[in-house]
């Protein structure tokens, strides 16, 4: 089920310089959202900017009827979003898309986040921890260009995850790419599953690493997305068909979470 409704702004919580957690009151969405799902947001009543924007659901609290999304102020759309005062409403369409599926029969769940990919994995981490059998480990690998762009890692630590950080400029943790941390982690012979969210270039490398080692991997893909409900065909993801050839699936309906091995990278 999906809804288009007027969600009330509860708070713009500062999470990093110019980066916010927007908490919205919208009970039907808060009650039904699953990790990996997203909403399409429209803060304006006019047609400029034109499109709604998709945002992954960061956290949801069904009891309070609230959920949150993460945004960084860059450009006219996010500026409009940031100007919405507490108590004002904005149009939200959702929850949309499929969700991450916890893999059974593994000893270790590895979350891999690049930049703004961390918040949506936090929702998954909460779900994984609540159902985690004894002896299973939760590992969070977070990468960003600089340390101030790392967001929401405390929540992973609070859930008991082992958190490892990579920054491209070396300002925190390992100096380099988060995919290097994944290689290192997977060199440990522990049956693992990988869940990744971040830039598509990162997801491509994550997919390759997991394929080489036959590790089950789910990735949340980003694509330009006009409608969010599967009508326009804009957010096409190339899928390798088992019988050969390519078909395009919609990131908004058949995704945004795909099994890494089914995506055909261009």
């Amino acid at each position: 089920m999906m809804w288009e409704l007027a969600a009330t702004v509860v708070e713009h919580r500062v999470r990093a310089p110019n980066q916010y957690e927007l908490i919205l009151h919208a009970p039907p969405i808060a009650e039904t959202a699953q990790p990996g799902q997203f909403v399409m947001v429209r803060p304006m009543a006019v047609y400029a900017p034109l499109w709604r924007r998709p945002y992954s659901i960061w956290r949801a609290n069904p009891d309070k009827g609230v959920f949150s999304i993460f945004y960084a102020v860059q450009g006219p759309f996010t500026e409009l979003l940031s100007l919405k005062p507490v108590g004002a409403t904005l149009s939200v369409l959702g929850p949309l898309g499929n969700s991450f599926q916890p893999v059974e029969g593994v000893k270790r769940h590895i979350l891999v986040a690049g930049g703004v990919g961390a918040p949506p994995l936090s929702f998954l981490a909460t779900r994984l921890v609540s159902g985690l059998p004894k002896g299973q480990r939760l590992v969070m690998l977070a990468g960003a260009r600089r340390r101030d762009l790392l967001v929401g890692l405390d929540e992973f630590r609070a859930l008991g995850a082992e958190v490892h950080v990579a920054t491209e400029d070396g300002s925190q943790g390992y100096a380099g790419l988060v995919t290097d941390l994944l290689e290192q982690a997977l060199s440990e012979p522990v049956p693992s599953a990988v869940y990744a969210c971040g830039p598509n270039a990162m997801l491509q490398v994550v997919s390759q690493i997991c394929r080489t080692r036959s590790v089950p991997c789910q990735i949340s893909l980003d694509a330009p997305m006009p409608c969010g409900v599967g009508a326009c065909g804009g957010c096409a993801v190339p899928i390798a068909l088992p019988e050969g050839g390519v078909w395009y699936r919609r990131a908004c309906v058949e995704g945004p979470v795909f099994r890494a091995e089914e995506v055909r990278w261009e």
Binding site: E4, Y47, L50, W51, C232, G233, V246
Partner: protein
């Protein structure tokens, strides 16, 4: 109470607000949010003979007051459409118009024949913007000769009411409009998406995988209004459907004033899924506040 019915040749609609082909998919995707039985008609996306995978991504790009798209007619093909999708469309309680496409005259004919054997299709809308592989990939709709050939081919293949959706790339739309009507189109729909382009200065790449795509949204409304007005002046007897950037009931009224008997709403659904019913409510209030007996009295008042 204003009578909202509009007559487009043999096709009578309960009101003049339709969806635009390609924009709302098969309509089913929006069914959880939208009551399609309110619409004058639901125009489903272009169906071709064989399934088409469509174009590689990126397929869409946002532009000022508009969007570029190059979906590449991704669809399941006419056989699957008739067997699996059409039965579900019949439950929506709205007249179904099917947009048809092809890369050859034979393909247009085969799609039209297959759909004519299906029940409960209100009309066919011929998408003339398809790549014409027999003439080197220009659109069919660019030339009056090819327009005539496509429409004649479809006309001979179907008894259904026929809408020709005209390309905006033919210069003066009137010769193409006349060609389509002479060949058997009963209704004209103006306009299909003009071609456009977007370039990313930072990456020095095109923003669409195919470089060129159709432009939709409020950006094209003035072009569409002009095309409707121009054809209405030249061919006042031919029923016209206006399409291009319609987002509000005022937009719909404007198209009717310059000669459109009905309008199609497309891109606006992405911003507001229930836009069609909003437009319809606005149109009804406008007509009643002016004590119009029939909404049709607006049509062409400014043409």
């Amino acid at each position: 109470m204003t009578d909202l019915r509009v007559r487009l040749g043999r096709l009578t609609l309960t009101n003049p607000v339709m969806t635009a082909a390609g924009c709302v998919g098969y309509g089913l995707e929006y069914a959880p949010l939208v009551d399609w039985s309110q619409a004058g008609a639901l125009v489903v996306k272009t169906i071709t003979l064989a399934p088409r995978a469509g174009n590689p991504p990126p397929r869409v790009a946002e532009t000022p007051a508009g969007m570029l798209h190059t979906i590449g007619l991704q669809n399941e093909g006419v056989e699957t459409f008739v067997r699996e999708i059409l039965p579900r469309l019949r439950t929506l309680g709205v007249p179904i118009v099917v947009s048809i496409g092809g890369e050859t005259l034979a393909e247009y004919r085969a799609v039209a024949e297959a759909l004519s054997q299906a029940e409960e299709i209100a009309a066919l809308e011929v998408n003339l913007a398809c790549p014409d592989t027999e003439a080197g990939y220009a659109e069919f709709g660019r030339s009056p000769e090819r327009t005539t050939q496509v429409i004649e081919t479809v006309r001979n293949a179907t008894p259904l009411p026929l809408i020709a959706k005209l390309s905006p790339h033919a210069g003066d739309p009137v010769p193409i409009a006349r060609a389509a009507v002479s060949a058997g189109a009963e209704i004209l729909c103006l306009i299909n998406s003009p071609w456009g382009m977007a370039v990313d200065a930072h990456t020095q790449r095109f923003r669409l995988a195919t470089a060129v795509g159709g432009l939709s949204g409020p950006a094209i409304k003035p072009i569409a209004l002009y095309a409707v007005w121009r054809v209405r002046q030249a061919m006042p007897e031919t029923p016209l459907i206006g399409v291009g950037g319609i987002c509000t009931w005022e937009d719909a009224v404007e198209f009717m004033l310059v000669g459109a008997a009905a309008v199609q709403v497309g891109t606006a659904h992405y911003m507001q899924p229930r836009v069609l019913t909003e437009i319809l409510a606005g149109l009804r209030a406008y007509a009643e506040s002016r004590q119009l007996e029939r909404i049709e009295t607006l049509v062409g008042a400014l043409a």
